[in-house]
């Protein structure tokens, strides 16, 4: 999948050409128009929420961190020169701040999970998984959610970041590499290692009939 297609898939609003491009909103914010930044918050809060939430598995931490992320972005928006897209820049801030937070938080924490949307019942992946795996069919949704989050939390922060962006948010390797300021090879290697670990943790759900 090429980057353009992926962006449109992730942001349906992009397919119909956003009324105001990010670059213009950024320029207006840099000129001191706070309302322009509000528009950027609306545009990115949902996606960045997902990124931070899947890395922390805690709704309250995510909320606090996301506030900090946007506050930091607003404070340092004058330093944004447009060398990367605003999207990449925001994601870099979010990932770095989340990893720093997780390092301070350590291993001792309690999960505070969001509700699972009822739309999952019609998801082809969910239907396919429940039709092939007995344990998955028997497990209720909250149990599956808990297991998935536990497995994610067993990964290192860096591996969890890559899995979140690639598997959950569907970003291409190239975009992840830009956000993490690393090579695509490193991204692929981290993914390979993380997937192998996750397969062990989720063995009971992966075992085929």
């Amino acid at each position: 999948m090429i980057l353009g297609e992926w962006l449109i898939e992730q942001h349906p609003s992009l397919s119909e050409e956003p009324e105001i491009p990010d670059a213009e909103l950024v320029a207006r914010t840099q000129a001191g128009e706070a309302e322009a930044f509000d528009e950027l918050v609306i545009r990115y809060s949902s996606r960045l929420y997902g990124l931070v939430y899947h890395m922390t598995s805690n709704h309250e931490d995510t909320n606090d961190l996301l506030q900090d992320v946007f506050a930091k972005a607003y404070r340092s928006i004058r330093s944004f020169r447009g060398n990367s897209s605003f999207y990449t820049w925001m994601h870099s801030i979010a990932v770095n701040m989340t990893i720093n937070f997780l390092k301070k938080r350590g291993r001792r924490f309690t999960m505070s999970l969001d509700d699972v949307d009822s739309g999952i019942q019609n998801d082809p992946d969910f239907l396919a998984a429940t039709s092939t795996s007995d344990p998955l069919r028997e497990a209720n949704l909250s149990e599956l959610q808990k297991k998935l989050n536990e497995a994610m939390q067993k990964l290192s922060n860096e591996h969890r970041a890559v899995v979140t962006m690639f598997d959950i948010q569907g970003m291409p390797h190239a975009e992840i590499a830009k956000i993490l300021k690393t090579s695509e090879g490193t991204v692929r290697s981290r993914l390979f290692y993380a997937h192998r670990q996750l397969q062990n943790y989720l063995q009971e759900f992966i075992t085929n009939k």
Binding site: V41, G50, N63, I168
Partner: protein, 145 residues
Amino acid sequence: MENQEITSKLLRLKRYEMPPPGYHEKFLRDFQRRQRAELIRTSPWQMLWEGVCSLWPNFQVPRMAYATCAAVALAAGAWMVSQPAGSDLSQQTTLANLNRVPDFSLEPKTPVTISNTLPVSGGSPRSSHYVLQPRPASSDSPLSF
């Protein structure tokens, strides 16, 4: 390979974990409130520092900067203490004074004279004495002048 696909599909299901409805609208309001509060709290120096940092985005305080500053301050302090307080002459005088053994003998080496001194008053010297009031001051009436 098949296991990896199943793992990926399971992970993709995490997309259905969503915050409560209306969360993002509330988030923006909270963010605006916080921005206003921060604006009040932020000191002018902090704002100036942030402005400087935004001009040089890659500027960071080097890791060992604080330790280096402390070491320099200590070295400067040590150097200042080791320096003489004044000129060489005063240093010699000070050293001479330090090396001199103090004289504790009770016999005066030179006689003390009181020539060229004048008496303060012409009368005979009187020892100081106190006169008690006939009645204590506490027994005075407050209105008596």
